[in-house]
Subunit: 142 residues, 2 copies
C-alpha cells in the first residue's frame, strides 16, 4: 500500500528531510525545536508493528536525531515519545526542552496551540539541524 503522510501531521509541520525509511518533519511551533520521524509504512500505528529491520533503523535515526537536536539547540532535556492518541499514523516526537519553556515541566503534547514560526525562523532552525553530522549521515534534505 502506498504511504501517504497523515493530513494533520502535514498541516502542522514542514517536511525537511527524508531517509530510506522515514520522513523527517519539523513541527511549526516557534516555542520548541520539535522534530518528528515518520516511517513511510502505511497502516503502522505501534512501534512494535514495524518489521525488525525497520524498528532498528528507526531507533538509530531517533538516537542520532536526539543527540543532534540536543547539541544544536542546547537542550536542557530531550523529550522523546510515540503517542498517537489523535493521529494514528506512527510518528516519533523529539522535542528540545528548556527549563521554563511554555509547557515546562509538563509535556508539550496537548498543552496549548502551537505558535507558528516565521519563514526566516524556520530556515534558521532547519539549517542548524541539517548541519549536524548525525542528521546528514542519515537524512537527505528535501
Amino acid at each position: 500500500m502506498t504511504f501517504a503522510l497523515d493530513a494533520r501531521l502535514a498541516a502542522d509541520t514542514h517536511v525537511i528531510a527524508e531517509s530510506a525509511l522515514s520522513l523527517l518533519l519539523l513541527m511549526d511551533d516557534a516555542r520548541y525545536p520539535w522534530a518528528i520521524v515518520v516511517p513511510k509504512r502505511e497502516g503502522v500505528t505501534e512501534l512494535f508493528e514495524l518489521a525488525p529491520a525497520d524498528a532498528a533503523a528507526l531507533w538509530s535515526e531517533s538516537l542520532a536525531l536526539g543527540r543532534a537536536m540536543t547539541t544544536a539547540f542546547l537542550a536542557h532535556k530531550l523529550n522523546v515519545g510515540a503517542l498517537g492518541n489523535v493521529v494514528r499514523q506512527l510518528h516519533l516526537h523529539h522535542v528540545v526542552r528548556q527549563v521554563g519553556d511554555a509547557a515546562w515541566p509538563g509535556p508539550v503534547w496537548g498543552h496549548s496551540p502551537r505558535v507558528p514560526r516565521t519563514d526566516a525562523e524556520r530556515r534558521d532552525v532547519v539549517a542548524r539541524l541539517l548541519a549536524e553530522p548525525g542528521v546528514t549521515a542519515r537524512f537527505t534534505p528535501r
Copy 2:
C-alpha cells in the same frame, strides 16, 4: 558508579521484574496499566547517552514490553515516552491507553495525581503482565 533507583520513581511504583540491563517498574495508578523500564546505568539521562549495546537492548525490551502490554490489557493505543523533565534518571514509559480513559486523548504525564491500586489489583496486573512470553523471555520477576 553504583546504580540506585531514583527516590521519586521508587515512591510511585513497584519494582516487578529485572533484566541484565533494566528494572521493570509498575506505576501505582489504577487508571492505566503503566510500566517503566529503567536502565541500571548511573548518571544517564538521555537515550542517546546509553552505550550502543545498552541502547539496542533497551529498544528490544521496549518493543517486547509494548507488544505484551497491548495484548494483555487490550490497549486501544500504547504511549511510549522518555521525558525526564522532573525525574532526570533515564526511564522509558509504556502506558496502555483506552479511548475515554482519564486523560484521553491527552498524555498521562502531568495530567492528574495517580490513583493507587489495591494490593489485589496490583497482583492481578502484575500476574497478567508477567504471563506474557515477551516479558518472561527478557525479565525475571522480583
